[in-house]
Each structure stands twice: as C-alpha cells, then as structure tokens.
C-alpha cells in the first residue's frame, strides 16, 4: 500500500510521463519501500521508517547558539587541556595537548578570561509572530505540518555568520519568521506557495541552515507575515537510475544521508562541501555549492542533471534529463545560485558515480607558500589534480599541527620527530615559512598509484617533498572541525570567521599576500591589541584559476563592538580581494552580506537582467528574503571608466 502510494507520488510528480519508461528500465529502483512509515503528523508521502536525521525540532539535536551537534564540542578539561566531547567524530573523546598553547600564543587567549553565552533566549525576548489570519486558516485546511513555537521560529531566523551567532550568544533578534512550515512533498510546496501568493505572505526557504551570507536573516522592514519553509522533511531519494548513473532526490535530504544511502548501493554523488553533515541538496543548488572533491565529481552545476523549482508563477523545470542541450540560455542557471529569491527547489536529479575502491590521503611539504602555489598551478595545468588538493599557508599548517590528538604510541612520536628533523635540518626548510599541501586521492588502486606518482613528481620540481598521510588527513579534519572551534573561541573573547574567493592564477599569490597584509594593517589601525590570526589556503584548483579560503580571528578584549569591527575589517578584506582580481564569492554566495559588491561584479546590465527575471517570476516579492538582486536600486549610470583599461599600454 505504502509502496504503491509512493510510486504514485513519483509518477504524479513526473506528470506520469516517466512512469512507462521507468518500468522499462529494469534497474530503476524505487527505494521508498525501505523507508516507509507514518510519522503521524505528516500528511502524505511521509511514510518513512527512518525519520530524517535532523528532526523538526532541530534544537533537540543541534546547538541553538553554535555549530553542530549538542553532544560535540571543545572544552577545557580539568587538566587545562582542550578536549573534544561526544563520539561522533574521530577526535571525539581525545585531548589535543598542543591546542591550548597555540590558542594562548597565537591569539592571546587567556583561560581565565571567559565570555560564556547567554542562557537560551526566552519567549519574552522573541518577537511575537505577525499573523495573516486568512493564510493561516487556508493552511489549516491542508493539514501541512507547521509550528509557531518561538524556539522553532528562532532556529530558522539565522544561519552561521559571525554576526548571527554572536547575536544568539549575546543579543536578540528583532525579526524572525512568523511560522515554520514543513511540507512533505513537492505538491505540498506547490500548495504552500500558492497560498502565500494568494494571501501575500513572504516565503523564506530553509534547508540545512548552514548559510554564511546572512541569507536567512529576515528583512527587518518586512511587515508581511514571513513563513520559513523548512525542507528537512522532504528527504527521500526518489529513484536511482544506474543505466544513466543518475539519481533523483527531494531537496531536503542532507549531504551525509544522501551519501550514506547511495553508498549502500555502491554509489556516491561525490559532492562534499565542508557543511555536508547539515547542508541540504536544495540548498546546494540554490547557492551554487562547491564540493571538496570537485576535481573528480565536479561542482553542483556540473552534477546537476535536472531540477524542479516551485515559483509564484508555477513550476519551473526542463522536460528532459539530457547531458547537454542547445536551447538558449540554460534555465538551470536561473535556479543555481538564486538564493531563495525566485522559488523553492523541490526535487533534484544529480549524476552519481561508483564508490571509489581506494581512498588515500597524502601531503607535500614546500619550503614556502610561493613554491606551493607554483606547484598547484602546474598540477592544474597538467590537469592531474587528485580528488582534492589544498595548499595551506604556514599559519594554517601550524594550526593543523596544534590539533594533533594526544598520541599514546612512543613510536609515532619518535617517527614524527624524525620526520621533522629530516624536513627542517636535512632539507633546510624554515619551520616558520614552510607550507603544506594536503591531498586526497580517490579511484582504483592503480589510478591512485599513478596519480600519486605524477603529483609527487610535479611537487619535486617545486622543491616539495612528500609529508605523509597524517598531515594530509589532519588538514582535512581542520575544515570540519573549524566551525566547532569557533564556538570555543567565542567563549574566550575571540571572534572568528572564514571567507573565500576565486582568483586567476596570475594573481593568486599577490591576492593571498595582499589580503592578509590588509587585514593585519586594519587590525592595527583599528586598535586591536592582540595579534590577529589570519591564514589562507588555496583550496581548489581550476584550469584558469583557484579558490582561496581565508580564516580570520582576533581577540577582542578591550574592544567595545567586536562584531561591528570584524565586519568592517572583513569588508576591507573583500575590497582588497576585488582590487586584486578576486571575486565576490566562490561558493558561499552573496546573500545580504556581500550585496554591496553585486552591482560592481556583474554590472548594471547584469543586475538589471536579474531583476527583470525576478520581476517576471515573482512580481509581488513572495520570496522576499532580500538576498542578491532584491531591493538594489537600479538605474545607475554606466561607468565610463571601464573602457580605459582596454586601451593599449605604452608597450
């Protein structure tokens, strides 16, 4: 019964046109039957034995004022060492003996100077919901799950920018969603959007809530009712098609679930953004996400075969799932990166690949960052990049080193000592200058071996020497752990954030140097008394350029408004990035935090085009989250200056 239901559901969603073909495809498999159950409150399609890994009441599992699971966090144990709790991660239950010293030395943390978070924000400090009674009445008729509980609403009022987390820890929100709705299927989304249009209610889609662009922030001046459309209950894989190596899933499925379930069938999408534990498929599409292993699997736009988006005008989708077509501008590109301004992504078809049999970490030690960048460039040129290759600067390498878990084995410690001796004494690398590239190889054993050989050969051309798998793995750990680390930093007067960009190769090195330099300079000029922690890594390579990722943290003891100051300095950093030929964002998106540079980035005509699309699809601004092109004044004068650059030089 349930199976049939689900099949009908799919068939219906695909407007029946696929069903005939699907049955003829022997290997198409509807895996819904594995996960059917009835959770009671879901009205339809939620017949799922395995509940979504993230519950509707997210706060029961996840921190309300920080990153990740409640059970997982750093803390200073009774010996005064930093330890990680829980059992979810490899470092859970371990102490990192180097970390405390690193924190005190590098950013001037003092263990006696704490700034704990405020206790949970109580109902009294949460704004009352705006109620559009007729909408609520119509919604009630549909029996689509919803809630106006203040904690539910608060949880969906923010992403994870420094500003938002700091507000949770220290302040309050003036505008949050008025209602949370959990549609369980595409059809329910269609219904919700219809009702929203009918009653002029704002819809802000919410996926994993890991945004770092203020995209989820509710516009303060919005007087209409705001509905947060939480997609977390739409988490089914609808089908897997091994003939075409594609799979279709609902938008709310989160990265780790998707990969785990595909792995049961020996497959994967290979899309692994650093937030994959929490971020959702729909969110990836709506923000133009990028995965760590994009060198093999591609970024989200490369993986995307088909997507369905519910807009105020109706459902936007293509009628076929072809590898490529020449049919005017690709409408997928209106959806990719639309950041919830045009509609809700409901279903997505992605490419899948067989799970790689072999997976291997590695690392290369370079005498300095410049050699490393040159090597990365060469690897990109020869198009032999492994699944992932990242170059950490010296500061980040040292940081990674501080994260080393306590080793119980004397042998390991001995070997580490030998390795260090070899690199610093025999090779003459300055430990305060060297840079480390971390590598992740995937494929068959032979492929991995061949690629390893080639990459290490190129590295040798740039004085790079293999640094072992451990260093590599720890480098990747850093990226997952960094968000948890920020929470403990908060406890000790430190504000921290990351930001990223993409840049052509010829400007990569200058950009890294100049942006770091600019941040240091601004810290000094703004009276920050402790040395800031500023580090970068070249985190992705492309044919014509790279993606650069910055971490920036400072100790704000003695400063009255740290977030404001942080934002000012990050703004300076972004200005510097743009002046250095970098972009507004490689994968975090624009949201509201980077809107000020959108016009400059895409020009008046570009911005006007986006606004025209918005005007057609959503004339009443139902998807009024105020991201991207929304609300930007149009009609500026076209800049004359730009033509200048194209003049031939004196050469």
């Amino acid at each position: 019964m349930a199976t049939k239901n689900a099949i009908e559901d799919v068939a219906h969603n695909e407007k029946s046109r696929l069903s005939g073909e699907m049955q003829s495809l022997g290997k198409i498999c509807n895996i819904e039957h594995k996960m059917c159950s009835n959770s009671g409150e879901s009205s339809n399609g939620g017949l799922d034995p395995e509940p979504p890994s993230i519950p509707k009441r997210r706060q029961e599992l996840l921190k309300w004022n920080g990153w990740g699971y409640k059970d997982s966090k750093f803390f200073v144990n009774k010996d005064g060492h930093v330890e990680f709790t829980g059992e979810r991660y490899r470092i859970s239950g371990s102490t990192m003996p180097g970390l405390r010293d690193w924190m005190t030395k590098t950013i001037g943390i003092s263990l006696d100077q704490k700034t704990p978070s405020q206790p949970e924000i109580s109902a009294a400090n949460i704004p009352l919901p705006v109620k559009n009674e007729s909408f609520v009445a119509d919604l009630r008729k549909t029996s689509i799950s919803n809630s106006d509980d203040c904690q539910d609403r608060l949880f969906r009022a923010h992403g994870h920018t420094l500003h938002e987390i700091f507000l949770l820890r220290e302040g309050k929100f003036d505008r949050i969603p008025d209602l949370v709705i959990w549609p369980a299927s595409h059809d329910e989304v269609v219904k919700v959007v219809e009702l929203a249009c009918k009653h002029n209610v704002v819809v802000i889609p919410f996926g994993g809530g890991t945004s770092v662009s203020n995209a989820l922030e509710c516009p303060l001046e919005e007087k209409r009712m705001i509905v947060s459309l939480d997609t977390s209950q739409m988490n089914r894989i609808l089908w897997v098609d091994e003939k075409n190596m594609t799979m279709r899933a609902e938008c709310g499925i989160i990265g780790q679930d998707l990969e785990r379930k595909l792995a049961e069938r020996g497959l994967c999408t290979g899309h692994e953004p650093d937030s994959m534990e929490f971020s959702s498929l729909g969110g990836w599409v709506a923000t133009r996400a990028s995965g760590m292993k994009k060198n093999i699997y591609g970024n989200i736009e490369d993986l995307l075969v088909h997507v369905k988006m519910v807009t105020p005008r109706g459902v936007m989708e293509k009628n076929c799932q072809v590898p490529r077509m020449s049919c005017g501008p690709d409408i997928h590109h209106f959806i990719l990166g639309s950041e919830g301004t045009l509609g809700v992504v409901t279903e997505v078809t992605l490419k899948v690949r067989p799970l790689p049999p072999c997976k291997k970490y590695g690392s290369i030690v370079f005498p300095d960052f410049e050699c490393g960048v040159k090597c990365m460039r060469e690897v990109a040129k020869q198009r032999c990049a492994p699944a992932s290759i990242r170059l950490m600067d010296n500061e980040q390498f040292q940081f990674g080193h501080a994260l080393k878990v306590e080793s119980k084995s004397i042998l390991t410690n001995f070997l580490d000592g030998l390795k260090k001796l070899y690199i610093t004494k025999l090779k003459g690398f300055d430990p305060m200058k060297l840079a480390v590239a971390t590598l992740l190889f995937e494929g068959t054993k032979e492929e991995v071996a061949a690629k390893e050989k080639r990459v290490y050969e190129i590295a040798a051309m740039f004085r790079g020497i293999p640094g072992g798998a451990d260093n590599g793995e720890r480098g990747y750990m850093l990226t997952f752990v960094i968000a948890y680390l920020r929470d403990i930093a908060f406890d000790y007067y430190v504000v921290a954030e990351s930001f990223e960009t993409s840049v052509p190769w010829d400007r990569c090195l200058d950009l890294c140097q100049n942006v770091k330099e600019r941040l240091h300079r601004e810290c000094k000029d703004n009276g920050i008394q402790f040395p800031p922690y500023i580090t970068c890594r070249v985190t992705q390579t492309y044919d014509s350029g790279a993606c650069v990722y910055f971490y920036f943290a400072f100790n704000y003891r003695g400063i009255s408004n740290p977030v404001h100051l942080y934002e000012h300095i990050e703004t300076c950093g972004r200005e510097e990035i743009l002046a250095n030929g970098g972009s507004i964002s490689h994968h975090h998106g624009v949201g509201k935090i980077r809107k000020q540079w959108l016009r400059k980035t895409i020009g008046d005509i570009g911005l006007g085009t986006l606004q025209a699309v918005k005007q057609y699809i959503d004339p009443n601004n139902i998807f009024g989250n105020n991201n991207l092109m929304i609300g930007q004044n149009f009609g500026g004068v076209v800049q004359q200056e730009a033509a200048n650059v194209l003049l031939p030089s004196k050469l």
């Binding site: 330099e517 743009l578 200056e641 200048n644 650059v645 030089s649 004196k650 050469l651």
Partner: protein, 694 residues
C-alpha cells in the same frame, strides 16, 4: 668657584656656549664625525631593518628577473614583430639596456664611498641637520612597506646626502634613479653604480623595449622591497632654486605595482633638502643665461676640488610625513578595473593618472612646506629689490620685516635666536662673499667676480647678470611662500578703481596663476581654494581691506602689497617682453607667423631683453634667464597664445596673434610697462638693431 652661587640645575647659562648641534626637530650628524674616526665609522656593523616580504636577491638576480619577466618578454615579442629582427637580437638589445641601467649595490663599495663622502662633507659643510623624528618614522616603515623617497632636487649633493644619511642611521641604502650624465665619468660612474645608482635615459619616448625594461626594473625592486627607491619628482636639478613642476613618468612606473595590486601598499616619503649655499650656484646662473653646463667628467671633478676650501654653511634635510598610497587613493581609484587584462599589458586608468598628478603636486608642495628658510634668502629678497645698495642697518630692518611675513605664512625660518640681527647678517654675507660684500660705509652691495672659466663671458652685461641671477637663486628659495598672496597683492596694487569686487579679483588672480603656472607650482583645480586662503591671509595680516565683498583699494596698497608686487614684477615683465617679441618682432609669411623651435624663440627673446637692458629700458637682469622665458612660453602655449606643430619630429612654435595680443594687453595692466623701441633681431649675426631711439 664663582659658579657656586648660581642655580646648580643650569650648566651653561651663556647662550654662546650652547652648541647648535640640536635645534628644534633637527640634529646635526656631522659633528660626531668631526670628533671620531672615519675609518671605524665606515666599517661599523650595520643593523638594517628589512622589508618583511623581501626575498634576498643580488643585483644580478634582479637583472635576471627583469629579463625573464612577462612584461619584458612581451615587449621583446612585440619588438620582434615590428622590426622583423630575430628574437635573439632583440633580447640582446634588452640585455644591453639592462646592463646600461642596472645598479650594482654592494656593501664594500658603499663603505668606501661613505669614507670619501665624509671627507668631502666635513670639508664643505658646517653642519648637516636631519629631522630625527622623520628618520624614526622611516625606520618603522622599512619593515612594513616598500618605500619611495622623493627628495627635492637643487644640487648634485642631494643624492650623496641621502645615501649618507641612510648610511648614518643604519637604514638600507636607497637605489637612485640617476640621469645618464654621470655614466660618462670614469670611476665616478662606476662608484655611483656600485653605491646604488641606476641610470635612466632622459627621454625614451616611443622606445617600447626601453620602457618595458625600465618599468620592470623599477617595479620588481619595489615589489620585493629590495631597497628604498629614490627619485626626483621634479625630473632634474632645479637651476633656479624654485621647485620645478612635477614629472609623472617615474612616479607612474613606481606606483603601478600598487594600482595593479602586486603589493599591498607603498609609502611615499617627501624629503626637503635646503642648502645655505648651493655648490653649483655660479654654474646655474650662467646656465640660465645660456652658457651650457660643462660636461660631467672625472677630470672636471678633480679640477673642482679647490672648491673644498670653501665654506658652504649648513644643510637641512627634512623627511616629511610618509604617505600611504593606499590611504591616499582610497575612494579615488578602483583597482579592480585592471581585472580584465594581464597586468603587464594594460596601462593605468584615467583615475589613476589623475591621482598621480595630484600626488606629484602634493609632493612638491610638501617639499616647499618643509624647506628651511635661511636669513640669506630673505636678505636676497630685499637686495633684489634694492639694486642701488642698501645700508646694513636698513637691510637688517627689512629682513626682520620679511621674516615676520614669511613666518606668518608658515615658513620655517632658521634664525639663531641668540645672535643679534647684524651678526647674523654679517655671517651670511661672509658665507656668500662671492656675491655681496659690505662696503666701507656699511652699504651692502653686489661684488663683481670673474665668471667661471668655462663661461667665457667677457661681456660686462653677462657678468652683472650672472651676479644678479646668483642672488636671485636665493631669493627664489622663498618665493613659494609668497606667490599666492602676491598675486592678490599685484592685482590690488595695479587696480585703478576705488574698489575691486571679489569676482574681479579672482579673475585677475586666476589669470596670473595661469601665467605663472610654469614658474611656480599650483595644484590644478585648487585655484579657488588657494585664492580664498591667500585672501584670508592677506586680510588677517592687514594687507588688504575688505568691505562688503569688495577690496578697498586705497586702504589696501601698503608696504606689504607693494613688497609682494615688486617681488614678482620681474617675472611678469619677462613674460611681457616675451609677448612683445612674439608679437612685434616676428616675421610672418603671408599673414601666418613663422614657426620656430622653442630654443630659437627663447634665445631671440633673450637677445631682445639684453638689448633692452643695455638701452636701460628695463632694469631687472634676471629677465635674461632662459628658464623664465621657457616657462613663459609654456604658459602662453597653455593659454592659447602660442601654438605648436610637429615638423620632422621636432616641435615648432608660432604665436596666435589675436589671443596673444589679448594676453599681452591683460598682462600690461599688472606692471608698469616700458616704452619699447622697435628692434629687429638676427640670431645668426647675433645682432639686435634698434630701429628708432627712444
């Protein structure tokens, strides 16, 4: 123990006993050298701060980098396509350019160089003052930023001094953009090269390969912060002791790495070097008259060594506030405009070129602001206006008065507080004994001395003019202090009405500014601000009386305005004579005035002036200055009074009669113009014929 009764806190109560080793913000760096061993000094270990992003390189590695750079490789490629020469030939040419250009800074050479310098400095100068706080700032900057040093340029001594000061304070020695002149000197050329001089051609117009090598050579050293880079924004030594208008080629090349985001920032340091007495004074004076400067040669240098017996007084070196180019350009340039092409190909944007112009002018004005005004330059200003001689006491009175005015204008005046005015004056007259002397009845007068050997001037007129021009050099040193209020004063003084509206006054002011814009430095677009500030200054010093937005002429013509007017009269008179020459003594062909090169125009105008001087029609000898004529001609060109055209690659000029007549008429309102006899000039026979006697 007679001192017992006195306050034990005071150790020297006689001001004469207090040395002037330290003075305001300055300290003398020469005295300790006079007391200690030079040899040990030259071998002292140096603890130089280094730029933090620097990667140590040898001069040879710098050259290698330049040759392999994208920019030079691209230029070579382009040159191959243009000239159809094989790549190896063009590359060889690039190598040759580089070899000619590159410095070879080596510590060994620097030490022996320093040894020699000290000997020379000790012989020539009493004290070399440096503002220590400026040095401290630079010390702090060296680690953090690439540094551009932009000294004022009034003597060859400038760059020796700069290197010496940096050596003295354990700062990294600057590399210096020098003109090719020295390269001809054996040994000296080599020594300078090894002490950090690199040589650039004075003009390389369309030579793209040269431009590329030069640009890359400068830029790579800035990006890597190998050493502070020193160059002269005025382009060449000022022969007149006035600031020259800024040149922008080198400045653009040096700042481009910031605009193209190769580096986070560059610090620009203006340096003002003021001399009590300029080494080249008589050379300059005769050069201004048209006697070419002797070619630099080592033997010439040796011959000049008797100069070591002379006293050249003090030097003041003031390091101005370093300017961060990033902060200076904030909001004014958009560096991302360079994102769309490889950085070695695209040129600078208009925004950036405007900014460079602004900065160049700013540098010159900063130089002027920090120039130290010596008593002698004020004396010169008075003496220039009292050609018949003046008594020492009267001179002292006048100088005292000028001093007060200059100080009100914000000039820094170097006046020993513990001496009487007369002592100061006499000391300065002694220092400049080759120009003036005190005659028996305490009258100060110009002396007649033989011109330098190379000048071959026998003409009495030339000799007198030489003395006058030498004196004018020192007066010129303070003209920048007065020029803006003077333009108001002149307008007021020559007004025939009872009242003058501010609008009319401003119009007159801007006209004068245009005329004077090559002889003096004005920031383009700042006319109104300058005008208002100067007017305020003048009203506050009660030179000018305003009533209901009108100047009351009667009350406003007083000593102050008269003094200012007279100070600048020679310039206006010079321009007027130039105009007259262009208008009435210029042959035309079928109505179109004959075009001549600038050189000939200027020379002929000078010949006419000479004749007028001989006839006694004009009295200001400095009008003979070719520099003044050149500047006038340029200003006229910018005002539309003269046109240019290119013939055979060189520039020919001719007057635009109508426009020029207008300018001349307007100009005549500002000065008492003499009645001119009609003269005709023949350059080839070097004769000026006066057709009708007055």
């Amino acid at each position: 123990m007679a001192e017992q009764s006195r306050n034990s806190w005071i150790s020297k109560d006689d001001p004469k006993l207090v040395s002037s080793r330290q003075k305001d913000m300055f300290e003398d760096i020469l005295e300790e050298r006079k007391l200690n061993s030079d040899l040990r000094y030259c071998f002292k270990t140096r603890d130089e701060p280094k730029f933090k992003l620097n990667k140590a390189r040898t001069p040879a590695q710098i050259k290698e980098h330049v040759l392999n750079s994208d920019r030079v490789q691209y230029a070579i490629e382009q040159a191959c396509m243009e000239t159809k020469l094989p790549k190896s030939d063009v590359t060889a040419e690039a190598c040759a350019i580089l070899d000619e250009m590159a410095h070879n800074l080596r510590m060994g050479a620097v030490r022996s160089f320093a040894f020699g310098l000290i000997k020379i400095f000790k012989a020539l100068y009493q004290r070399i003052y440096v503002n220590v706080d400026g040095i401290q700032k630079i010390r702090g900057m060296v680690k953090e930023y690439p540094i551009l040093l932009m000294p004022s340029h009034r003597s060859y001594m400038d760059f020796l001094l700069m290197s010496y000061v940096f050596y003295h304070y354990d700062l990294p020695l600057p590399v210096i953009a020098a003109a090719m002149d020295f390269l001809g000197m054996q040994f000296v050329g080599w020594l300078l090269r090894n002490s950090g001089a690199f040589y650039i051609r004075r003009s390389f117009g369309d030579d793209h390969l040269y431009w590329a090598v030069f640009t890359e050579y400068v830029q790579t050293q800035i990006c890597n912060g190998d050493a502070p880079i020193e160059f002269y924004v005025e382009g060449t030594r000022s022969r007149t002791s006035k600031s020259y208008t800024p040149k922008f080629g080198m400045l653009s090349a040096a700042l481009e790495p910031y605009f193209k985001s190769h580096i986070p920032d560059i610090m620009v340091v203006p340096v003002s070097i003021s001399y009590d007495r300029i080494l080249e004074e008589s050379l300059y004076a005769y050069e201004l008259l048209g006697v070419p400067k002797p070619k630099e040669s080592t033997s010439g240098l040796l011959k000049a060594r008797k100069i070591l017996e002379e006293d050249f007084g003090n030097i003041h070196i003031y390091f101005g506030e370093p300017i961060s180019i990033r902060k200076y350009s904030e909001g004014l340039v958009d560096r991302s405009l360079h994102n769309l092409a490889p950085r070695y190909i695209a040129s600078l944007t208009n925004q950036e070129q405007d900014l460079i112009k602004k900065l160049g002018h700013h540098m010159i004005l900063t130089h002027q602001k920090h120039m130290v005004v010596s008593p002698w330059s004020m004396m010169a200003a008075v003496l220039m206006q009292s050609q018949g001689g003046i008594s020492l006491r009267q001179l002292a009175k006048e100088v005292e008065w000028v001093k007060r005015q200059a100080s009100n204008m914000g000039a820094y005046i170097d006046w020993p507080a513990s001496e009487s005015a007369e002592t100061v004056l006499r000391a300065n007259i002694k220092l400049h004994h080759n120009i003036v002397r005190v005659a028996e009845d305490d009258v100060v007068e110009l002396v007649r001395v033989a011109p330098p050997a190379h000048a071959k001037a026998t003409d009495a007129l030339m000799i007198t003019a030489g003395q006058h021009l030498m004196l004018s050099l020192y007066r010129n040193h303070i003209l920048h202090v007065f020029v803006r209020p003077a333009m108001i004063a002149i307008s007021v003084n020559t007004c025939n009405e009872e009242k003058l509206t501010l609008d009319d006054l401003y119009n007159k002011y801007s006209f004068l500014e245009q005329l004077l814009s090559k002889d003096f430095v004005f920031v383009p677009g700042h006319t109104k601000d300058d005008f208002e500030l100067s007017l305020r200054t003048l009203t506050h010093t009660s030179g000018v009386v305003l009533e209901e937005n009108e100047v009351v002429i009667g009350k406003s013509t007083n000593k102050l305005t008269t003094f200012y007017s007279q100070m600048f009269e020679p310039f206006l008179l010079g321009y007027w004579i130039l105009c007259q020459y262009l208008l009435s003594n210029h042959p035309s062909v079928a109505g179109k005035p004959l075009a001549k090169t600038q050189k000939i125009l200027v020379k002929e105008a000078q010949m006419m002036t000479a004749r007028l001087l001989q006839e006694g029609v004009v009295k200001h000898y400095e009008v003979l200055s070719l520099d003044m004529m050149n500047n006038g001609l340029h200003a006229l060109y910018h005002m539309g009074g003269v046109s240019k055209e290119r013939r055979d690659g060189s520039v020919y000029m001719y007057p635009n009669t109508r426009q020029l007549s207008n300018i001349t008429d307007q100009l005549a309102k500002f000065i008492d113009v003499p009645r001119l006899p009609s003269v005709s000039i023949n350059l080839h026979s070097k004769t000026v014929t006066v057709n009708a006697k007055l």
